[in-house]
């Protein structure tokens, strides 16, 4: 166990740092985007206010981006859980970041240049991102139930 911990620690620390940077950045971008959007709504910027789909999808992009930023920051605590193998931790980390970007990006793109009554084709990224996010959440849940501490 000691040997394993020695070999895993630098990677885990690096992963935690990556998720901290990623999470804060995603939170910053999403909050900044949300503020810009709310300002535009406040000033009744016609292209946004007139387009119900754009308004709704961009709100979802803002909300999910911020939520996944927080999720990544929470993940920092579990990035090196010993209940998971290194390869599983690595894949969970990558998929978490991928999903955290894909879903809000899907909503963002879905609101741009969309046909009447439907989001644009970019919306397909959202369910893909959702599915991706299920993977790290699922493996972390299993790890938590297996009872090993971080």
């Amino acid at each position: 166990m000691t040997t394993q911990k020695k070999t895993e620690s630098p990677a885990a620390e690096g992963r935690a740092r990556v998720h901290a940077r990623f999470g804060w950045t995603l939170l910053l971008v999403s909050l900044a985007f949300g503020m810009v959007m709310e300002t535009l709504e406040g000033f009744r910027w016609a292209p946004l206010v007139r387009d119900a789909w754009m308004q709704r999808l961009w709100s979802l992009a803002h909300f999910h981006g911020a939520a996944f930023g927080l999720l990544n920051l929470i993940y920092v605590q579990w990035a090196d859980t010993r209940a998971l193998s290194e390869s599983r931790r690595r894949s969970a980390s990558r998929v978490l970041m991928l999903g955290s970007v894909a879903m809000p990006l899907g909503f963002l793109l879905g609101g741009i240049g969309h046909p009447e009554g439907d989001p644009s084709i970019g919306i397909f990224l959202a369910p893909v991102g959702g599915l991706l996010l299920l993977y790290p959440v699922a493996v972390q849940t299993i790890a938590a139930w297996r009872g090993q501490s971080t």
């Binding site: 998971l84 193998s85 599983r88 894949s91 790890a143 297996r146």
Partner: protein, 618 residues
């Protein structure tokens, strides 16, 4: 304890396989959707689903339709839909006083019933919401159109004989019409009168009141059901493929496209005529996108319709002279025949001004730009009119206002080159003198030929009446539609004379027309007079001040009341200082005091008396 996933063997292979299976499934699904989309759908048996079901997927189109007068063509009577004044006022016409009452959210009209007895009749539906609003009452299985309607623009009640072209003394209940067998067809979506020929009863239904999405796009039930599948929608969005489960008029060929509009904007008769039984029981079998000629044929001057003189609805050259014949006008135009011009080139169902369903741009020469760019670019040279003047507007010469429809004169939809000889060859208005109202048709013919560098016309009329300004000649001696066109032209904004005072010469002739025996002519003459005086008042406020003291003219008031008002206005004109009013062309029969020359007026009125009285209804 073994950490989770210590040996994720074949993980990449599993992901890869999963992705490949997904890709294959997606491609197969797309191919299936593409094949289904390409398969034609027989729309006539498809149920209608109503505009509310279009809204979730087409919110923009729904909203742009919602603001149109199409939507509000027929409505259930409610405080929101009723625009007439039902606050207890009254209106007297032809000795009958009608009253308009409201009880909470219910509306009533006290007027003659079908038996000619005064009775309180509940208004249950409204028809129209732009210029006029008509009211329907219910008698058992029948909806009956009441003969008194509300003039939305003038905010006053009027009898429908003034909306159609009926001479004074017509039957008060002449326009008390059966909705189930008439209006129902064009003012609603997919009407089914449900007439039982044995019991002689109606069981009428419509897919939707008013003119809604499915009137032009066909029944939507199948379209809604099929497009519940997102893959189908996205395939349609990004492939550009045509959705066969609904009609998109812009994807139809030119004839089918204008038939979608012509279904209502082109009076038709069932073909064969016996099909009328099917129309009255099952409804009009036409579905948008089909060939309209399969079921009906348009009415033309030479059409025969029992009990109706159809020829009265057309000028003698065959051009429709009433509205709701725009389809025929377009069919007769070379622009359609050779150029494939359709209604949608100028009109927009989902954009522009709901009044006329046209954008501001298309109200001007831009409408013709697409097909005639060179001509539009050098419009002044082409039209031989001053750059920027109304004479360079294509509509002025090629679509002059000469079609009567509900108290207005509208542009003809038979697009033609101007030809002043039509005035004497076909007894019809011609473009030049509708703007140059103080000029004769002979002058127009000669001037046009001279401008074109051609010798003077040989076939000039011998009748001295054609020496008189055409607007005056037709206002006094023309038949009822000619008079309506002239009365409107004399006050129309489209005029060769921009100076308001220079148009005042028409006042005494308009006063003459206010004594016409058709209230619709009296109304148009009065509106023109009002407009001329209002514009001149801006240039000469004292004129407006003196005219402002005079009583308003009510075209359907009693003869005595009308005579009193006309007399006051005549006195005003006689007393008016006319020093600064420019004299019109000598073709206008006026003396030095700008009063009509009695002999000429008498002669023209005598000619008019030779016309048989005509009545032009729906």
């Amino acid at each position: 304890m073994e950490p989770v996933g210590t040996r994720p063997r074949g993980a990449y292979l599993a992901w890869g396989l999963g992705a490949a299976v997904l890709a294959v499934v997606a491609v197969l699904a797309l191919r299936a959707v593409a094949a289904e989309v390409r398969t034609p759908v027989e729309l006539s048996p498809v149920p209608y689903t109503g505009s509310a079901s279009c809204r979730p997927c087409h919110p923009d189109h729904y909203e742009s339709w919602r603001r149109t007068f199409h939507r509000t063509m027929t409505q259930e009577a409610s405080p929101e839909s009723v625009v007439g004044d039902f606050s207890g006022g009254s209106f007297t016409f032809s000795g009958v006083t009608s009253r308009f009452l409201r009880d909470g959210e219910r509306f009533f009209m006290e007027t003659l019933d079908g038996n000619g007895r005064p009775s309180r009749q509940e208004v249950v539906r409204t028809v129209g919401s732009r210029r006029i609003q008509q009211y329907l009452t219910r008698e058992g299985d029948k909806y009956i159109r009441l003969p008194i309607a509300w003039d939305i623009e003038q905010r006053s009640w009027f009898h429908l004989s003034g909306g159609f072209l009926d001479p004074d003394g017509s039957d008060f209940n002449g326009h008390r019409a059966l909705w189930n067998a008439n209006c129902i067809f064009c003012h609603n979506v997919k009407a089914r009168p449900g007439y039982d020929w044995e019991r002689r009863t109606f069981d009428s239904h419509v897919a939707e009141l008013g003119i809604a999405c499915e009137a032009c796009h066909g029944p939507g039930d199948e379209h809604v059901a099929r497009n519940a599948l997102p893959l189908r929608r996205y395939y349609l969005h990004y492939s550009g493929a045509e959705d066969q489960s609904i009609v998109n008029p812009t994807r139809l060929d030119a004839l089918r496209r204008i038939q979608v509009c012509g279904h209502c904007h082109g009076q038709r008769m069932p073909s064969p005529i016996d099909r009328i039984r099917q129309f009255l029981s099952e409804g009009d079998p036409y579905t948008a996108g089909e060939n309209l000629s399969t079921y009906t044929r348009p009415l033309y001057r030479e059409s025969h319709l029992e009990g109706v003189d159809v020829s009265l609805r057309f000028w003698k050259d065959g051009t429709p002279r009433l509205t709701a014949y725009e389809y025929q006008g377009l069919l007769m135009s070379k622009d359609f025949q050779k150029g494939g011009l359709t209604c949608q080139h100028c009109h927009s169902m989902h954009g522009g001004d709901p009044r006329g369903m046209i954008t501001q741009e298309k109200r001007g020469p831009a409408a013709c730009q697409e097909c005639h760019p060179t001509t539009v670019a050098r419009a002044a040279e082409h039209s031989r009119h001053r750059e920027g003047s109304l004479g360079t507007d294509c509509y002025s010469c090629h679509m002059p206002k000469m079609a009567y429809g509900i108290m207005r004169i509208h542009p003809t939809h038979r697009i033609q080159n101007p030809d002043p000889s039509r005035a004497w060859r076909h007894d019809m208005p011609e473009a030049c003198t509708l703007c140059h109202t103080d000029r004769s048709a002979k002058w127009a013919a000669q001037t046009l030929r001279r401008q074109q560098g051609q010798p003077p016309p040989e076939e000039l009329p011998l009748d001295p009446a054609f020496e008189v300004a055409e607007s005056v000649r037709t206002l006094l001696s023309g038949d009822v539609v000619q008079r309506a066109v002239a009365a409107s032209a004399l006050g129309d904004t489209r005029s060769a004379t921009a100076q308001p005072l220079a148009r005042l010469w028409a006042v005494p002739f308009l006063l003459q027309a206010m004594e016409d025996n058709y209230s619709s002519i009296r109304r148009m003459a009065w509106l023109s007079l009002e407009s001329l005086v209002a514009k001149a008042s801006a240039a000469r406020p004292a004129l407006g001040a003196s005219a402002g003291q005079l009583p308003r003219f009510e075209p359907q008031a009693s003869a005595e009341e009308r005579a009193r008002v006309v007399s006051r206005w005549r006195e005003w004109w006689a007393a008016l200082d006319k020093g600064d009013i420019p004299r019109p062309d000598p073709a206008v029969p006026l003396d030095a005091a700008l009063e009509p020359i009695p002999a000429v007026v008498e002669q023209l009125l005598k000619k008019r008396a030779e016309h048989p009285a005509i009545q032009i209804g729906e």
